[in-house]
Amino acid sequence: MKIQYIKYISLLAILGFLSISCSDFLNEEPQSTWGIDDFYSTQTEADIALAGIYSTFASDAVYGQGLSIIMESGTDEGYYNRRYNENWTVGLYRHTSSDNYVANLWAKLYTSINLSNMFIERLDNNAFEQEDYDRLIGEARFLRAHAYSLLVAWYGDIPMPLTSTLDQSANHLAVTADEEVYAQIIADFTFASEHLLAANDPKYIPGRANKMAAHGLMARAYLKMAGSPINNTDMYALAQAQCAIIIQDGYHGMNTDNGIGYRTHFLNYIQSTYDTQESLFEISFAYLREMGISADGRIGGINGVAFNFGGGADGYPGAYAMENVSPLLKNIYSADDLRKDWNIAGYQYTNKGDAKAVTDPLAGQYCPGKFRRWEPSNWADLDITPAEGVTEAYTLLEAVSSPSKSFTSINFPVLRYSDVLLMYAEASNFNEGPNALAISYLNMVRDRAGLGDITIENPTAVADKDSFFAELVDERAREFCFEGLRKQDLIRWGLLGEKLNLQNLTIEGEPTFKNTNENHKAYLRAGNFYTEGKHNSLPYPLQEVSLNNELEQKAGW
């Protein structure tokens, strides 16, 4: 009896462990994550995988604020306005290879590329109809091409992995010359343009990549190649051809909404409404932090219209308003250009609740209004100072119930139809000079802005190739300012240094400028610190250089 009892207990002590086989015992598979081998085989999984790739573009480092606002600052459209610090390093041309913005943009875009590569490698061909399979692959290739477009534009020659990372040996990869990177970008966009749905297809889900966006971004890539530093002017024709495809397709166009199309169109971004006719591709943001989800951005916050009421608490459309509009941008608008008052806010809301006009272009509140979160309910209030304790009404534009002080749900445009038109004009002007079609496309953009036919209002601007080009340089600033395009435009035209010089002269020439005013002097920083050549592309991040044995830092860094 006793023996039985002992046996029972000792058996119990060991049985649980010993009755399983050895190899089973040591096999443990992840319980709360997917293995990379058993994913990518259903539509749901493919959507989750693609959402993960899109999400990298919506991250802080890319369109959240890094690329779209901070790194993009320091052009002739605007600059960082805080004189006490140099936090917007890249916009002030004070960055080094250990700069966070330089590293984070690189890291995020490559994270995106690795996910795209994995998607392309592992999407289960047998689980989908060929058409659906190609469309999904096309979407991943679209996103990969866009990531590479941004990387090659900002960094030049770059490592170009086209397969997913498997182990540490992937650390060592030499750079690929920019032209070869572009060849891959074109190949990816071409595939995408062949297989993606068009935006007017009933099955198309707005917010995702589409056929014409692939053509349009391909045109942008060709234009980049045509300009500095590659300067392959054969590419103008190819860019023109891509734009023509979109224009001839006929679905896309500009929002004209009874003469306030420009405003209506941007209100759509602000209110997260997809306007797929004009917006070929955009990055979507949503404010979901109440659920603990971060899918939001900083658009309209750090580059927004000053709003100081409420002590920086949630519940108010606060804006850090760190970016100032350049007086140079102000000067290239004609007075009746509808875009001027939209892009340059010219108002603020004080900590006392006073909606107030901002007229001095050197005031710290002279901020972009393109992605405004709020407007005065009554514009007449701008000229009225309310009594102590009385606050003037404002209208919340953003589509959220209670705005966050720091994060916004405002979408950010990547490619708009007017860009297609102006790219066409620029490309065809290079080969043919000013021509009727090109001028008509410019006029379409002008028309929406409330401006008349350029051949009548300013015939010299379209008189010859150079002046038409110069007009387009300005027109692109008027149309696309604060949309993350200007710095790369100026770089491909070789005009960044020139415009920054002009900008500093313009600032110093403003009647309100005082050379003893520290704030005013701080506006000159981007122009002063910019070095021709060195600052047209970013250094490789320090971590990349120290771990990648095949990569050398660029000269001068």
């Binding site: 006793k2 002992i6 046996k7 000792s10 119990l12 002590a13 060991i14 009755s19 086989s21 050895c22 015992f25 040591l26 443990e28 992840p30 319980q31 709360s32 994550t33 997917w34 293995g35 990379i36 989750i48 959402a51 993960g52 999400s55 919506a58 004189r83 080094t96 890291a107 490559y110 994270t111 995106s112 690795n114 996910l115 994995m118 490592p159 992995p161 990372t165 182990d167 992937a170 650390n171 060592h172 889900i205 917010g207 979507s284 949503a286 109440e290 659920m291 603990g292 899918a295 002590g311 949630d314 050379n515 003893t516 520290e518 991040p541 971590q543 990349e544 120290s546 771990l547 044995n549």
Partner: protein, 1045 residues
């Protein structure tokens, strides 16, 4: 595997089938009733002999009733005993010489101290017990050479950092493996056991001692053996109660009311550019005149959040039984208030341990333990967003005579620069954070002696550690008032379940002068982890606290996670002892872990060691002064597998920040990202360690000296190593790099006086360790770390560089403050322009009063290229010195503990000693800020000619904030009085002691922070000795009584 199963099964059953008969057996104990293992038992006049097992049990064949048994054991008087007709002969041996014959617990066995071949140190349970501490780890500092005990901070009940012989891992955990009553435990919480229940505490330092624990032993092993019931038919009931007070002995020196008002006057003047204007006007309106505040006491916000706290501790235990069955039961209740308001530590502990002899050969033992731990209080240290210490330092110490409309403390809710501040008293009082742990442990073991030589031990155990953390931010907190979630509560549940089985078979044999012992064993373990989290926000009332978060209207998406790992091991050990002079030990262990891929799953860990007892050689035997001398040498390999359960797998995960929205109405779609790159060849980190030691005893062991030298080479570091970013990964767990630790340890124990009425013992130990990074990732020369203690001070402040120790402090070298003659005056721009050749400090503008750094590379500006190693966190040496006196019935002991020659990064100074031109107060040094009238200073200007004196972002850490942390602490003192025997007999009490004891009584240091024993860095070995907003250390005094019936 099946085969093993049958073998074990067979071994389990076999003994019950074939019982041996005709034997005498019994237990050999010492005078205290503790069993003595390893006693030689010889049938007089024959060569038949055996030795006792770990429980002092023996069994021997006899032939006739006149047989005499000879019990001999070194250090005890040899005893002859006539067997007679008895079948059970129990013997109490009287000791002859205590120290050398203490039993030292080693992996899966025990050995007499004199027979040790490895480096093992012991801490006596009395030493741990006689301190005013709540958990045993707090009492360890300074006790043992080679073991560095350092605090994170002073949070009540929090575990300490224990590093044995220097840290091996760079990004991994360096804490030792605990083995409690034979069961290895990762993540052991020192709070989950009562110090009272610890019988012995053995620290295995070198690889020859630890390698038998293989893959988990690289950081050293701490073996804890707990008390068990008496076996002599007697019963002890012990009750102790103690009460203590704790307080924070010092304060950080902040501006006094007068200094603060003077400083505000300076701020106003500086903003007015030294021509009294608008701001000086505002100042005068509210404050009138600094002289009015000269004698004001004001508010010390530190005093407001600190308190004198009480601790109550009660302990009861019962120990009883006979040679067949023994039982030990203990219970403990501890209630410790924290020295910061609304913080504290509670513990309820129950332990039932039993042993039962089924027959002469077979014994069962087991225990059941339950511990409830609760650590209350908001996280004080290392929080980069809210910090009550920061709030207490920066709140102004006095209110203006004419109100300026701000809340108490000068806190201005509308001021952007103050939006992180909040009334620290309110924050503490209205934040309810509880970290509760319910630890349940059980174990059942079976020991069977086939004969005197062959012993089988089987054991199974489980541990369930269920942790619940709740945090509730009431209305009057930083979060409740200013955060976007307002009143909110969250609940986190974590459950760790460990099942393990450990089985050994041991064989001992003595043939003439050869003594062998062989041990073989296998172990299995599985660990399960489950996690869940929920949170609700916008709760309309804080009436219910965490008990009704369902009232909230803004729930966060709940999270769950689970993971599991398994470990399978085989091991063996051979001991060989020749002439009792030459000792050899070899161990071998094979560990298989589920954390690695099939091909790399198994790790093999050998060790060899030898010792030579020179004192037993003829040439030393006659030297009277030398009572003992032994040389030891050993080498072994140990491993480390402390990585995530699935780090070897490439995984995709979806997090709350990896999703995206699309479609009309912007539907949220969870998004996948690659959360881990499973490097295919991920394997064990291994540490090869050599050790040479010398044990010497003089004057009949009144002087004992131990010296050890070791050399540890850790290779294939499990390093969360940086990747080239184009791979899409920032860091990936890999086997990369090499770290070296070399060191010397000396400990000296002396019995200075040993008289009946007066005894005096001294013990001294000192340790030297040199740590060096030998290699990092391929091509990588350094790991730069941003300690991230505060988001506004985000820069690389630590460096782990090849050729240097791990985790060096890294920053700029302070030169001086820029003076007027560094500049030319530009009249046109009305500004100061740096003279040709004078470097700027990294960002413009720079002016007189700005902070000037040394431009190391001479490029005219200051950036990351000018950073240097500015501090070393590793002490040159550390140790302890203790004296114990027994005078009559009084006992007194005192321990001094030190750590010498290391630096602390006093990040508090980088914040509180830099003028900001705001309303915040700060350290007293702010009074010394640069101004045209106060140029001889190292504190930058508040502002001069529109230029602020604070250093630019990215250049905020310099050597002004690195301080020498060397300290000597009066770590503990205890005074006790034990009632004399006559009184005890009258009271029918076995023992009665009253005592008074103190912990952390005094610290001699030049360090200006609360306490130099601090290290709140978030990234372990990469960011050591960082002090920012740490919960200060307390001084404790406790008095109590201890009665045994």
């Amino acid at each position: 595997m099946k085969k093993i199963f049958y073998i074990v099964l067979l071994l389990t059953i076999m003994p019950f089938v074939a019982f041996a008969q005709n034997s005498v057996s019994g237990t050999v104990t010492d005078a205290n009733g503790e069993p003595i293992p390893g006693v030689n038992v010889l049938l007089k006049g024959t060569s038949n002999g055996t030795s006792t097992d770990f429980d002092g049990l023996y069994s021997i064949q006899t032939t006739k009733s006149s047989d005499v048994l000879v019990f001999s054991y070194l250090g005890f008087k040899t005893t002859n005993e006539l067997v007679g007709n008895r079948s059970e002969v129990n013997i109490i041996l009287q000791s002859s010489n205590e120290q050398l014959d203490e039993i030292v617990i080693v992996g899966y066995g025990s050995v007499r101290k004199r027979d040790l071949t490895g480096s093992v140190a012991q801490v006596s349970s009395d030493e741990l017990n006689n301190t005013a501490t709540s958990n045993f780890d707090q009492a360890l500092a300074g006790r043992v050479s080679g073991v560095q005990i350092s605090s994170v901070d002073g949070t009540p009940g929090e575990g300490l950092n224990i590093t044995i012989r220097g840290g091996n891992s760079i990004t991994g955990d360096n804490s030792p493996l605990y083995v409690v009553d034979g069961i290895p435990m990762d993540d052991f919480d020192p709070g989950s056991i009562s110090t009272n229940d610890i019988k012995s505490f053995d620290i295995q330092k070198d690889a020859s001692a630890t390698a038998i624990y293989g893959s988990r032993a690289a950081n050293g092993v701490i073996l804890i053996t707990t008390k068990q019931g008496r076996k002599d038919g007697k019963t002890d009931v012990r009750i102790s109660a103690s009460h203590g007070v704790q307080w924070i002995p010092n304060r950080l020196e902040t501006l006094s009311p007068y200094e603060y008002v003077k400083y505000q006057e300076q701020v106003a003047l500086a903003i007015d550019n030294y021509v009294p204007g608008q701001y000086v006007g505002y100042f005068k309106e509210s404050w009138v005149d600094p002289e009015l505040y000269r004698d004001m006491e004001g508010t010390s916000w530190q005093d407001e959040i600190f308190r004198i706290a009480s601790t109550n501790k009660y302990n009861a235990s019962m120990s009883g039984g006979n040679s067949t069955t023994n039982v030990y039961f203990s219970t403990e209740f501890l209630d410790q208030e924290g020295t910061m308001i609304n913080t504290g530590f509670k513990k309820i502990y129950n332990n039932l341990k039993f042993g039962h002899k089924i027959n002469n050969k077979t014994k069962l033992n087991g225990y059941l333990q339950y511990t409830y731990l609760n650590r209350a209080g908001v996280g004080i240290s290392g929080n980069s967003y809210t910090s009550v210490i920061r709030d207490a330092i920066q709140f102004r110490p006095v209110e203006p005579i004419n109100s300026d409309g701000l809340e108490a403390g000068g806190y201005d809710p509308t001021d952007q620069s103050q939006k992180y501040l909040f009334n620290p008293v309110k924050n503490l009082m209205n934040t309810d954070r509880q970290r509760r742990s319910d630890v349940l442990r059980g174990s059942l073991g079976l020991t069977h002696r086939f004969n005197s030589d062959l012993v089988l031990k089987l054991s199974g155990s489980y541990q369930i550690d269920s942790r619940k953390e709740t945090t509730f931010f009431g209305k009057d907190t930083q979060q409740g008032t200013r955060g976007s979630d307002h009143i909110n509560g969250s609940v986190t549940n974590r459950r760790y379940q460990t099942l393990s089985s450990s089985n050994t078979l041991a064989y001992n044999k003595t043939i003439d002068q050869h003594r062998f012992s062989l041990l073989g064993g296998m172990e299995m373990q599985t660990k399960d982890y489950e996690y869940s989290w929920m949170k609700n926000s916008e709760i309309p009332t804080d009436l219910f606290g965490i008990d009704k978060i369902g009232l909230g209207i803004s729930p966060a998406i709940p999270q769950t996670l689970s993971s599991r790992n398994a470990l399978l091991s085989y091991f063996g050990r051979v001991n060989y002892n020749l002439h009792d002079k030459y000792l050899f030990t070899a161990t071998y262990r094979a560990d298989g872990s589920s954390k690695f891929n099939k091909d790399n799953r198994w790790g093999y860990f050998p060790s060899f060691s030898a010792a030579w007892k020179i004192s037993d050689e003829n040439f030393l035997k006659d030297v009277e002064a030398v009572s003992f001398a032994k040389v030891r040498a050993g080498w072994g390999i140990t491993g480390n597998n402390r990585i995530g359960d699935y780090d070897a797998y490439s995984q995709l995960n979806a997090s709350t920040s990896s999703g995206y929205v699309w479609g009309h109405g912007e539907n949220y779609i969870p998004g996948a990202y690659q959360s881990n790159l499973g490097v295919p060849n991920l394997r064990w980190e291994s540490t090869a360690q050599s050790n040479i030691g010398l044990d010497l005893g003089f004057l009949d062991q009144n002087i004992e000296l131990t010296v050890d030298y070791y050399n540890k080479q850790t290779s294939d570091l499990l390093l969360n190593a940086e990747m080239a970013l184009h791979t899409g990964f920032n860091k990936v767990q890999q086997n990369i790099g090499k770290v070296e630790n070399k060191g010397l340890e000396i400990s000296l124990n002396t019995t200075n006086i040993n008289k009946d009425k007066f005894k005096w013992y001294t013990s001294f130990n000192i340790s030297f360790n040199e740590n060096k990074t030998i290699a990092l990732n391929d091509g990588q020369t350094a790991i730069y770390t941003n300690p991230n203690w505060n988001g506004s001070y985000s820069e690389y402040q630590y460096i782990t560089q090849v050729g240097q120790p791990v985790g060096m402090m890294y920053g700029l070298e302070f030169d001086r403050i820029y003076q007027l003659d560094d500049f030319n005056w530009d009249n046109e721009y009305q500004t100061y322009v740096l003279k040709e050749g004078v470097p700027d400090n990294g960002a413009l503008p720079v002016g007189p009063g700005s902070v000037k750094f040394i431009d190391q590379n001479g490029d005219g500006t200051i950036n990351e290229l000018d950073r240097e190693i500015i501090g070393n966190p590793h002490p040159k040496h550390f140790g302890g010195f203790s004296n114990t006196f027994e005078v009559g019935n009084f006992d007194v002991s005192a321990l001094l503990q030190w750590s010498y020659g290391f630096d602390i990064m006093n990040a508090n100074k980088a914040v509180f000693e830099v003028p900001t031109a705001g309303k915040q107060s700060g350290f007293a040094a702010l009074s010394d800020a640069w101004s045209p009238l106060n140029t001889d200073t190292t504190v930058g200007a508040i502002r001069y000619m529109t230029v602020y004196g604070a250093p630019p972002k990215g250049n905020q850490m310099d050597d002004r904030y690195i301080e020498d942390g060397s300290y000597l602490k009066l770590k503990s003192v205890s005074v006790g009085y034990t009632l004399p025997n006559e009184a005890l007999e009258a009271m029918k009490v076995k023992k009665f002691r009253i005592y008074l004891t103190g912990q952390n009584l005094f610290t001699w240091t030049k360090y200006s922070g609360y306490d130099p024993d601090v290290s709140v860095g978030k990234y372990g070995a990469l960011t050591p000795r960082l002090d920012y907003s740490a919960y200060p250390q307390s001084t404790t005094i406790m008095g109590g009584i201890d009665i045994t019936f």
